[in-house]
Amino acid sequence: MKIIYHCFGGSHSSVLASAIHLGLIDKSRLPTMEEMMAIPYYDKTSDADFGSIRFMGIDEFKNEIYVLGKKSMGNRYSNILLGIADILGVSDKLISVNCMNQVNWSMKIGGFTSRRMGLEWLGRPVLGSGSRDAFFNLVNLVEYTRLQSMKKVQGS
């Protein structure tokens, strides 16, 4: 199974969700900024990364986990991904997870300041605070996704 977490830039909420999924970060407590910055791609992407599906790792059930930045394409992008998988005949092997619902204003403002304006010193503290606020919502999203992947495996 391939699981793609996607958000606006593929740099914050989707990366954090994939790190939670892969156990790269402890899901039972709030992470520190240093721990989040140690996650590959967290607040490190550029404009060239928009639209690229980037590999994050393989979970304990052999699911491949990816992240994707899709700008403001919303749920339509999930339908595009699932539609393409469907016409390839592999829709049962793909889960597309939109992380945008878990993104708060601090993450949006902090992420924009850090990535788009290039002011990391200003954006990162705001982003870190927002990421911590959203953390347990992302944990819930990941748990739901893991259940969904188990159901899909059992169903196929």
């Binding site: 928009f50 394409m73 339509r76 595009i80 539609g83 016409i87 390839l88 592999v90």
Partner: protein
């Protein structure tokens, strides 16, 4: 092979390109095509199946809003991630003048006559750009021949 014509909307120029590719269209009858300017179908985001060509290739039309090239990159990456080769699914972006206008026209609320305005506008833009679409499709046909 699967061929996807990709544009800002999936029910205007990419749809026309798909029918030109299938050699089932001339300049005068594009308004009568099934799903032409079908806004509801475009909103779903799912690729629209058009038909198979003489070589059994499956032809689709897809709308991606303003992010056509980003979506092309994502689809090509997805094909690779899902274990398929680039020969199995080809994406052809179709770009015309006024394509953003078509996208905006789709957003006009129905109560303000959105669907009718969108249809009139799309007929005008597509008619004006028809030969550019034909040229794009012919160039693409040439690229496909080189590929095989």
């Amino acid at each position: 092979m699967i061929i996807i014509f990709l544009a800002t909307t999936g029910v205007h120029h990419s749809l026309i390109a798909a029918y030109i590719f299938l050699e089932r269209l001339n300049e005068t009858n594009f308004k009568m095509l099934p799903d032409f300017s079908n806004i509801k179908k475009d909103y779903s985001g799912f690729p629209i199946f058009i038909d198979k060509d003489s070589q059994d290739n499956r032809i689709y039309s897809l709308g991606a809003g303003k992010e056509v090239l980003m979506t092309q990159k994502t689809i090509e990456d997805l094909v690779n991630v899902m274990g398929f080769s680039r020969d199995e699914l080809v994406v052809k972006p179709v770009r015309i003048k006024g394509e953003q206008l078509l996208r905006f026209a789709e957003k006009i609320p129905g109560i303000l006559g959105g669907e009718a305005i969108s249809r009139v506008l799309s007929e005008y833009v597509v008619k004006k750009e028809f030969y550019r679409i034909v040229k794009e499709v012919e160039d693409f046909r040439g690229e496909l021949r080189k590929l095989h």
